[in-house]
Amino acid sequence: MSSNFPLLTALIVMPFVGAVVTLLMPNRRPELVRIVGYITTAATLGFALYLLADFATATHGYQFVESHSWMGEFGVRWLVGVDGISLFMVALNALLFPLGLLASAKVPNAKAFTFWMLLLEGAVMGVFLSLDLILFFVFFEFVLVPMYFIIAGWGYDNRRYAAMKFFLFTMAGSAFLFVGILSVAFLYQRDGHALTFDSRVLIEWASTHGSMALGTSKWLFLAFAVGFAVKIPLFPFHTWLPDAHTQAPTAGSVVLAGVLLKMGTYGFLRFSVPMFPRAAVALAPLMLVLAVIGITYGAIVAAMQPDLKRLIAYSSIAHLGFVVLGTFAFTAQGISGGLFTMLSHGLTTGALFLLVGMLSDRRHTREIAAFGGLWKSVPILAGLFIATAFASIGLPGFSGFVGEFLALLGAFLTSRWYAVVATSGVILAAVYLLWAVQRTFTGEPEGENATLPEISFRELVTVVPLLALSLFLGFHPRPVLDRLEPAARDLVTHIEQNSDYRAPVVSKQGPKVAAQEAAP
């Protein structure tokens, strides 16, 4: 590939092209549509792997930037770029979609399903790669359409209610975000500049002291925050999530939990915090309180769920709480931890949803009470489930541990008591997941549970990569952290330069080593 190949544009456009191709496929040949889906997502994954390999770790700032005029009249540009914050979200997105398609090889009306899935992949790619605020919003909002149709078309019994709720909640949040985006751009224009929605320029301008009053920047921060908080979802904007997750088909849940929720936390890290650092510092207690509520509330409610899928949905609220906690700790460790958790949660929760999908395909129910003793009837599936549950709990050795540990560590440095309360979330995670595992897999299988078919090769292929990656990153997180940390440190430095916040300095060597060096 030549150096001026538009890699990021290809990442976004490839799924859209695939979607158009599926439309042209004959209705009666679903296998052709599936092949188009696999080829497209595989090609996108190929681009993403190339991006991972080619991403420079030593430098910071955006790489692979492309900029073209789009809507000249409004100053909107096709501006895409990638940095440590977005890199792994892109990779995760590219990874989850082929697996999601593979997991839903038996869905009815494959043509429409593949079409919407591919549109969704392209739109999510656009969200994570756009540096122009309007372009970002275009994709951010467009994501709703395919997800809506996936839930409403292929979900479970109450899918239509869930799909509508999902659409309206997130769209209402986006309304504030949209007005916020326009306000920033026009305040910038009123300051005597040419109208632009280039986030780099606007961040540079809006974060500078004196560009806008603290009150203004607080309002704008809140406008952005509502849009992103609904997506995460942060307590008390979370009520759409359990419904959407429970009712969505397996592949829908996987990508919803895996990448769609991260659009919210990503928005905070990419736009809200850098653009309004003073407001972010001033409002951090609010965000931290909501994050901690999310962590504990999500975990407690998860423990009470009779429905396996709903349980995982609530656990997502708790996990995403750690990301917000790490973000608003404003330390390099906290932010890296948050970013790492975003990746890790995508792997583990994605795998959990796939496994629950398999169970529900076999038993046609997701009630925990209906299961029991599966350990005996489907040992491999049970083993995978338990391993994934450990990964999700954050057992050391799995990726979940690295992310949550770093997030808690980072939070402990600046917001000690929040971190202390949040730590209870780690214990609660063990409570709800182990309890669920116990009720589902232990004991003697009775009735239908005794005769369930074991996991098939196709199903194995969908779960194993996610679990393996989680395990690998649990033991060897360096490759990821090397790429995350420069971006996280950049962000902290940016906040320090533009607000009166100062990150605590931690000596890397520890006091003992430092003393030895000082001696001679």
Binding site: M71, G72, E73, L168, S183
Partner: protein
């Protein structure tokens, strides 16, 4: 300008020189309409007369479009000017509105063909009336005098009254015609009273003259002038179906033949907004602080009433009628900004809206089947399984109306909301976005019904829906345009911007 001064000094009887070129697009359409009526009365019994009428209309539209294009070329090169004693403004603004009207007319005629055949209403008069109504709209687009605007208003309205009642076998159609006529006549009177009061306050009906007068004289006792503003706004607000002057809209939209509804929603709105923009933003510019609050109120009420009332409807045509009230509110946001940006955003919105709504009504017309009665949400249940393409197209048009990105609807909303924020109206933009969420619920209800499983559909063995070629062409054009305007809107945005810059003053 010079001709105006000349008029005052020389004999008042002398007629001004007529610049035929300035009204050539209108003349082309008008001739087509007259020719259709003539052919109809000469060749009474031939069944071919309907086809002939269509060809004549097509020829008229093409000629009109060519003249409009040539006008654009000249305006672009030489700048805007006024003609016929300042009655007509030949400027980019007029060209843009005319373009929207011509596009709406073409699409509406295309979907009318299949409709009229199906309902056995193949009357050339229908074609003639629609073309005549469009003529009125074209006049309105370029009218630079309150009297000319009134004339245009009457030309377009009277034809529409008849068209609304065209399916005289249906009681609802008759009711629509009568209701529209009574309320329309009332609003015309209100408008005329407004003209009289503004004339009383300024001594002229020419928009250029009024602007000059207002710029040169401080109107100390401005009560008469302001009441005049208000009445003009009410009269035009009726035509654009802005709340609280929207009472006729649901009934008329529901009762009128569906292609006529489509035409009303797309073209009438564009023409009347053209007049509003020219009168308020263009002429009463100096008094913007006085009329902006009124338009602000109209916009908020329209958006709120339009979306909230649409939620409880079960008739798709009524839903679209209420949402059309909401869309009037969105365009009013652009008017309210009272800036170049706002005006060009409003123009772009009108273009996109015409395509979206006519596309949606084209599907509605097909689904209604013979009798044009089946508009209930239940009639759409399970449609996606039986008619995937038609359902997909309606989904596209509805999502575009909801303002979903990658459709023209999003770019249109982006335009008006950024104009509002640019003018410092954050609240208006926020209200607009939040009502858009409610309206999304309305559109999604229709979409959900279409994608509902077949089991819920009435189990009748019915013939599949028939999409005739002309409707197919209209659907194809509208859907492609909506998507293109969503992905590469640059050319149309530039057109709208240039149209606003080239405003004859």
């Amino acid at each position: 300008m010079i001709s105006l001064l000349a008029q005052q000094t020389v004999q008042p009887i002398r007629t001004p020189p007529i610049d035929w070129f300035s009204i050539a697009p209108e003349i082309a359409l008008f001739s087509a309409a007259i020719l259709i009526v003539l052919v109809r009365s000469l060749v009474r019994r031939s069944p071919r007369v309907f086809d002939a009428a269509l060809y004549i209309a097509a020829a008229g539209i093409v000629t009109s479009a060519v003249f409009t294009f040539v006008q654009w070329h000249f305006v672009d090169r030489d700048g805007p000017y006024q003609a016929i004693a300042g009655m007509v403004a030949v400027d980019g603004f007029a060209v843009f509105v005319r373009t929207v009207v011509l596009i709406s007319l073409t699409l509406a005629l295309l979907i009318s063909v299949g409709y009229l055949r199906r309902e056995q209403l193949e009357a050339p008069e229908y074609i003639a009336l629609m073309v005549l109504s469009a003529t009125g709209m074209m006049v309105m687009a370029s009218a630079n005098d309150l009297i000319a605007i009134f004339l245009a208003l009457e030309i377009l309205s009277i034809a529409l009254y008849v068209l609304s009642a065209f399916d005289k076998r249906r009681l609802t159609s008759q009711e629509a015609g009568l209701k529209y006529f009574l309320l329309g006549a009332f609003s015309s009177a209100v408008f005329l009273y407004g003209v009289a009061l503004v004339y009383g306050a300024t001594g002229t009906t020419s928009l250029t003259g009024i602007a000059k007068f207002l710029a040169g004289n401080a109107v100390l006792d401005n009560g008469v002038l302001f009441v005049g503003f208000a009445l003009l706004l009410v009269g035009l607000g009726f035509k654009i179906a802005a709340a609280p002057f929207h009472m006729w809209t649901p009934d008329v939209y529901q009762g009128a033949p569906t292609p006529v509804t489509a035409f009303m929603a797309g073209a009438t709105k564009a023409a009347a907004f053209g007049a509003i923009l020219r009168v308020f933003v263009g002429t009463f510019d100096l008094y913007r602080d006085d009329w902006r609050p009124a338009v602000f109120g109209l916009a908020v009420i329209s958006m709120a009433v339009g979306t909230i009332a649409a939620v409880v409807q079960t008739d798709v045509k009524r839903m679209l009628a209420y949402s059309s009230i909401a869309h009037a509110g969105y365009v009013l946001i652009g008017v309210q900004a009272a800036t170049r940006k706002g005006t060009s955003a409003a123009l772009f919105y009108l273009l996109v809206y015409a395509l979206m709504i006519i596309g949606a009504f084209a599907v509605v017309s097909v689904v209604a089947r013979r009798g044009d009665e089946r508009h209930s949400l239940d009639d759409y249940r399970g449609m996606a399984r039986r008619e995937p393409v038609l359902a997909g197209l309606l989904t596209l048009f509805l999502l575009a109306q909801a303002g979903v990105p990658l459709t023209g609807g999003f770019v249109a909303k982006l335009g008006v909301f950024s104009a509002a924020v640019d003018a410092g109206q954050y609240a208006l933009a926020l209200v607009g976005m939040l009502t858009a969420v409610i309206s999304a619920f309305v559109y999604l209800r229709i979409v959900l019904a279409m994608y509902a499983p077949d089991a819920e559909a009435p189990a009748e063995d019915e013939a599949p829906l028939r999409v005739d070629a002309a409707t197919g062409v209209a659907l194809f054009l509208a859907s492609v345009a909506v998507v293109v305007l969503g992905i590469v809107p640059g050319f149309a945005l530039d057109f709208a911007r240039d149209a606003t810059l080239l405003l004859a003053r």
